[in-house]
Amino acid sequence: MEIRKAVITAAGKSQRQLPLQSLVDRDGQTKSALSIIIEEVLRAGIESIAVVISPGDSGAFRSAAGEHASRLTFIEQQRPLGYAHAIHSAAEFTGNDAFLLLVGDHLYLSHTGQGCAAQLVALARAEKCAISAVQSTHESQLAYYGAVGGRLVDATRRLYQVDTVLEKPTPTEAEQKIDVPGLRAGYYLCFFGMHVLTPGVHRVLASLFKENAGRETTVHLRAALAKLAESERYLAAELDGRRYDFGVKYGLLTAQFALALAGKDRDEVLRGMVELLATNPTRH
């Protein structure tokens, strides 16, 4: 299975400005978050990238993408109908190909030489199926993420066969419906914000949108992935890396620290932090 295309979603109401923020990357260069994401994608061997944006945002995004702008296809999500709809807006772009899907408000930091996206794409190529990156997450964070249940199929590569997908479950629901052997009590496999999906997902989404026509309810990617799991092989993988959601409070700051502490300016940043701690009056 070849994976040459990627879709980055950045059309969400609260997401629109986030990829445009500036961060200092591991190499000490100041870049937009979008550039950092694009570089992550490119390292995975992706050739063409679509960014799903709100109407009218293309100028800002093009400028934030800098030297990578020419590689990008901008797809405007005409109506704010949610994440699944944003993905489905890129159906034409992905066509009959499998594709890498990322959200525009997360940064990924790998613990190995291979980037997170590259790890995921390599796994998908090897397994020839849809695969979602997941991270073992404490139940207190369940309100923010989708969660999956399933059985371990490869302990070394930490691969799971997915049988259940829940959208931001309560721990009550998670405890009842999600079973993942081998995880600590109170931890669940939650989405990492990164998937490799097959064209099948667009077929499922199309049918879900059709069923939902005229109703007020939103179609969730969760529902599509749950259906996908019924019809084709669908895996989840724990990657060697961490995600940083810079859409949450202090998220951007945390992401910046993570980047800096993993990069060449680590000592300088640490020095600055120690100085800050030493000189700042204690809060009471």
């Binding site: 404490h138 139940e139 207190s140 309560t170 009550t172 405890e175």
Partner: protein
């Protein structure tokens, strides 16, 4: 040789496991039994399976309670001592340690009656503790409940309130989410098979036919409604506002600690719901975190929750599981609000209902109560079969218990039970609340024990009950309600009463008799609801007479209750209900805009405070809400009359007819209250000169066990013939019986204030008999045997005199041939609010039974509240805030005999029968006491003034005993023991039964027969006062119930003083003797929970043989 009993527990053959313990050990000797006990004790320590361990424990408890004492009686082992440190272990719930201590004592000294009683209690409690622990573990391990125990910080709270509840309208009003839930009735519970322990061990036998119903009070409510509801909304204050409309209580909770403080107020159930729903998860208890932060995490900063519970006027004890279903409704509304149920409104899905059930179980555990496993039945719709489920290897219970904690529910479809059958049931069934609210807990323990012992008759009964369930379902499917009625009656008469004779009572029997008489063939059957009868009950009747029966039952119940109100503990006026099957189960809707109003009672409770405030100070949204309410009052028919009620609560009317305080003063005057003595006692108590600590003898008093020569043994005097002497005295008419019948059954009914002597406590000779009848029946038998009628005197008090004399007049003295005389009490005291010092002494200094962890927390919190109550009300002030009769107290049985002198009873007796020489005085609950010629003979031969009957001590015989005090044998009250442990060194326990030499007693008073006959009041009073001055005054605490609302009760500890009869043994001028009598003669019945053991250990049969019920 291997054990013959262990196979009854672990045999692979079900038929062997179902053999009864009693049958299997029938032929075993004492030594063989002890060997079996040793084997069982080893087995129960090593058996891997929980229920095998528990059964072994119940076997051990039963052998030590019922079988071993019988085997060792008469071989000199009857007496024995219980090591105090073993008892201390028992109080602290260190059951294993207690068992070790008692077993070591048994190994060293051989078996004794005393040590058997201690071992039996320890094994029994360990068995229940083991079962309860398992239920709790299972509750925690139910999927969906586990996370709540892991969550310890507000930032970890994963729940969020649904956005629909967070949006305000223009007036600032948040929507209200309302959950309305029916209650449940069980057409049969297959002999209490819904007890968790049974369902988890015998899942195939755990079956309940359970119906969700709406209720209305007949002729008051327009139509039946779901009786319980939970209401929830977001508020703009970071607090938990809890309001119980049904209990009239409201509180704003600002700290996590308060949420876990259950007994502080009446909001324990709401708090349990908040915790069990995960809103304040149990794992956060004691974390020191802030409730505001936790609320902010779920709702956003500055916001809080208002949770309101409402019960549509259904009283406690309805046997309809009102409180469990209310808990379930509250949990359901909170779960919906936090996204733990998919739909915010409408019915719940099956998986969600099951989760509500699991959470309700958790909530009941947290709140320290425990319902049956079918009790949340109202959450499900319509008619359902609830069954136990065998645990499989994926269940947390697997390998521990045979069944799962949670049952499965099969809701009968319209195809299975058609609409016509449902209608037919509604057209024939009259549901009532008989007015009694009794604690069903002891019954559930008895059922569990009998099941685990496979007691023969009870085990057959259990299997029969399952047959009834099948029959009732078939009849219901066929719409044959007449057969349903026949079967529920047969079930009640058959298996239910075989297993628990106490499931029925005299009141219920009277109701059934009267309905049967009036409705003859149209009365199709009686149906006991829940754990016992007397409260919620059903009467099934031909449909064309249902309306008539509803009217008649109201009258029949009220009249019967009136006739029996002195004998039985009624909590409220009986009620007849209208009911309707609820086909929705629990159901929620959302109230918006003008409709966003809380239940009526909420405004009656809270509006007065708001209306007293300056309207300018009221927040806009509250003013808007009051506006909406005012406008609704004008337009909504269900709110008609509310304005008047609101006015009444704003300006409470003065109590009509002078109220309680005047009648209390009248009563005090009428009953010989001595205000001077009272003032002095009150001052002494306030100053700390008298009190619980001061009741005790000086710490340097030497208290030792008596020597063999200090007591007389029945059957041990060889050189004389006491029996003949006794018979002669009886034949000469020299003896009379004095039964102390002044008591208000405070322990018997937990302070309900009924007349104990009139309680029809047990079926003897085929009928329910009152204590009064039993004592007269013994005197009848004595009179007939002796050929001379025995005078029988009942001493009475302000509480009992009128009801007793009325009752005996109506019953024509139960046909007793001899004289029946009342000796009316002439002394009364006024209870006092206790001092905090005495409350602390009683609860902190005295050894206390430690409860199981959660119950202990609840008790600690309650006690702290009661100490605050005493301090706020005024320590050592008069206790007047209750019914007048509950404020008075008897002043101790020291005065019982002196009263007979003061009120002329003894004078009349002496005038009529100058030969009268001896009185036998005994407590109302010493049912085995009779005029035994041998004991009488022993008393006469000893020439003592007072001969006290004592028995060897068992674990439950607490409160002093026979001792050598500084070298002199006398009785010491428990109150006077300088140290608690001293009591455990005393072999004998006082039964209070006393043989009194009339002339000797008069001599001690400095009086003669002539003085008594002459009735010189001043002389007699002075003599009594002089004698009274020689005996100590004790301060005691008594639990008094205060009733309010709909069958609600509070129990307050109040202080009173008393002087005790047994202290006369300390006076050297009174010659006292002590006679050791058999236990069955001296056993007192203090608590109803004793009755089952009393029946099973042969005591009831012993008493029956002493009686002649006439006719």
């Amino acid at each position: 040789m291997g054990s013959v009993l262990i196979p009854l527990i672990n045999s692979p053959d079900g038929a062997v496991r179902d053999l009864s313990l009693d049958g299997r050990i029938a032929g075993l000797s004492a030594a063989e039994l002890i060997a079996e006990c040793d084997a069982l004790d080893v087995f129960r320590r090593t058996a891997p399976n929980l229920y095998e361990r528990v059964r072994a424990l119940f076997f051990l408890a039963s052998i030590h309670r019922y079988h071993l004492p019988e085997r060792i009686a008469g071989d000199g082992s009857a007496s024995g001592l219980i090591p105090f440190h073993g008892f201390e272990h028992l109080l602290a719930r260190r059951f294993e340690e207690a068992i070790e201590v008692f077993l070591e004592k048994q190994r060293n000294d051989g078996p004794s009656d005393a040590i058997c009683s201690a071992l039996s209690a320890a094994y029994h409690r360990l068995a229940f503790q083991t079962l309860a622990d398992q239920v709790r573990r299972s509750v925690r391990t139910v999927r969906g409940n586990q996370w709540m125990f892991r969550m310890g910080h507000p930032k970890d709270q994963p729940l969020r309130f649904r956005s629909e509840l967070l949006s305000q309208d223009a007036a600032g009003t948040y929507p209200i989410l309302r959950e309305r839930t029916p209650v449940r009735m069980d057409l049969t519970h297959s002999a209490w098979s819904d007890i968790f322990f049974l369902g988890m061990d015998f899942p195939e036998g755990a079956k309940v036919l359970n119906i969700s119903v709406d209720l209305g009070v007949h002729k008051r409510d327009a139509e039946p409604q779901p009786p319980v509801s939970g209401w929830l909304r977001v508020i703009d204050r970071p607090v938990l506002r809890l309001v119980s409309v049904d209990l009239g209580a409201a509180a704003e909770i600002e700290s996590l600690g308060e949420v876990f403080d259950f007994a502080k107020d009446y909001l324990g159930l709401l708090k349990a719901a908040v915790i069990a729903s995960g809103v304040v998860p149990p794992g956060i208890e004691g974390s020191g975190q802030s409730l505001g932060d936790l609320l902010a995490q779920m709702l956003g900063p500055g916001r809080g929750i208002e949770l309101v519970s409402s019960v549509n006027d259904i009283p406690k004890g309805s046997r309809l599981a009102v409180s469990t279903n209310l808990l379930a409704a509250l949990i359901a509304v909170l779960m919906r609000a936090t996204g733990q149920a998919e739909s915010l409104t409408g019915p719940l899905r099956e998986s969600e209902r099951r989760l509500v059930l699991a959470r309700a179980l958790l909530g009941e555990w947290i709140g320290g109560s425990g319902g049956g496993w079918q009790d949340s039945g109202g959450v499900w719709p319509g008619i359902k079969l609830i069954e136990g489920v065998a645990a499989c290897d994926t269940d947390p219970e697997f390998g521990i218990s045979r069944g799962r904690l949670m049952p499965k529910h099969h809701v009968f479809s319209r195809d299975e039970i058609p609409d016509s059958a449902r209608r037919a049931l509604q057209d024939s069934l009259v549901v009532v609340h008989g007015g009694m609210a009794q604690n069903v807990g002891p019954i559930l323990e008895m059922v569990t024990e009998k099941y685990l012992l496979r007691s023969a008759a009870e085990w057959i009964g259990r299997k029969e009950a399952l047959g009834f369930l099948d029959g009732i379902i078939d009849a219901l499917k066929a719409g044959d309600i007449r057969t349903v009625g026949r079967l529920t009656t047969e079930n009640f008469r058959g298996p239910i009463q075989t297993i628990i004779p106490w499931a029925t009572n005299f009141y219920t029997e009277r109701l059934i008799e009267q309905v049967k008489e009036e409705f003859a063939d149209d009365f199709w059957g009686f149906w006991m609801l829940g754990g016992m009868s007397g409260g919620g009950m059903g009467f099934i009747v031909a449909p064309h007479r249902k309306a008539e029966l509803q009217d008649r039952l109201q009258a029949i119940m009220s009249q019967t209750k009136k006739a029996l109100s002195d004998s039985l503990p009624f909590a409220m006026e009986p009620v007849v209900y209208d009911f309707r099957i609820n086909e929705n189960g629990t159901f929620a809707d959302i109230l918006n805009g003008d409709g966003a109003l809380m239940p009526k009672g909420y405004y009656l409770l809270l509006a007065p405070q708001l209306l007293r405030r300056d309207p300018k100070d009221l927040p806009v949204h509250i003013r808007a809400e009051l506006d909406r309410f005012a406008s609704a009052c004008r337009t909504k028919p269900e709110l008609r009359g509310v304005v008047q009620e609101l006015f009444d609560s704003l300006l409470p009317r003065s109590k009509s007819g002078g109220g309680g305080s005047e009648s209390l003063d009248e009563l005090l005057t009428e009953n010989g209250f001595d205000p001077e003595a009272h003032t002095s006692i009150r001052a002494d108590m306030k100053a700390g000169r008298i009190g619980l600590a001061q009741n005790r003898l000086p710490a340097n008093t030497v208290i030792e066990d008596v020597k063999p020569a200090d007591v007389l043994m029945v059957g041990s005097v060889a050189k004389s013939d006491p029996i003949r002497a006794g018979q002669a005295s009886l034949a000469a008419g020299e003896v009379a019986v004095v039964t102390l019948a002044a008591g208000a059954a405070s322990r018997w009914t937990q302070g309900a204030g009924v007349v104990k002597s009139l309680h029809p406590f047990c079926k003897l000779g085929g009928r329910h008999r009152t204590f009064l009848e039993v004592h007269l029946a013994k005197s009848r038998r004595t009179s007939r045997l002796a050929g001379a009628a025995v005078p029988h005197i009942f001493t009475t008090s302000y509480l009992t005199h009128a009801p007793l004399s009325r009752f005996l007049a109506e019953a024509r003295n139960y046909g007793y041939e001899g004289p029946v005389v009342f000796s009316k009490g002439k002394s009364v005291g006024l209870r006092l609010v206790p001092t905090a010092r005495d409350l602390r002494f009683a609860w902190e200094e005295m050894p206390q039974q430690t409860l199981d962890e959660q119950q202990q927390k609840v008790r600690d919190s309650l006690r702290a509240a009661l100490i605050r109550w005493a301090e706020a009300t005024g320590e050592a002030t008069d206790y007047r805030d209750n019914l007048p009769l509950q404020c008075l107290h008897p002043v101790g049985h020291f005065y019982e005999l002196p009263n007979m002198l003061r009120n002329g009873t003894l004078a009349a007796l002496l005038r009529e029968r100058s030969q009268l020489r001896t009185l036998m005085m005994h407590n109302i609950d010493t049912t085995g006491a009779n005029l035994d010629p041998e004991i009488l003979g022993l008393h006469l031969e000893s020439r003592a003034t007072l001969s006290f009957e004592v028995i060897t001590r068992r674990l439950d015989d607490r409160g002093g005993g026979l001792a050598r005090v500084d070298g002199r044998p006398r009785l010491v009250e428990g109150l006077a023991m300088p140290r608690e442990e001293l009591e455990f060194d005393l072999t004998y326990y006082n039964t209070m039964t006393t043989w009194i030499d009339v002339d000797g007693f008069l001599r001690a008073l400095g009086l003669t027969r002539q003085d008594v006959i002459a009735g010189d009041d001043a002389k007699i009073t002075a003599a009594i006062r002089a004698l009274a001055a020689k005996v100590p005054t004790y301060i005691t605490l008594k639990d008094v119930k205060k009733r309010w609302g709909h069958g609600q009760e509070d129990v307050f500890p109040v202080a009173q003083f008393e002087k005790l009869w047994s202290d006369l043994t300390a006076l050297p001028e009174i010659e006292s003797r002590f006679i050791v009598v058999p236990r069955q003669r001296g056993q007192q019945l203090k608590e109803q929970a004793q009755l089952d053991g009393w029946l099973r250990d042969g005591s009831a049969r012993y008493v029956e043989e002493l009686c002649d019920f006439g006719g």
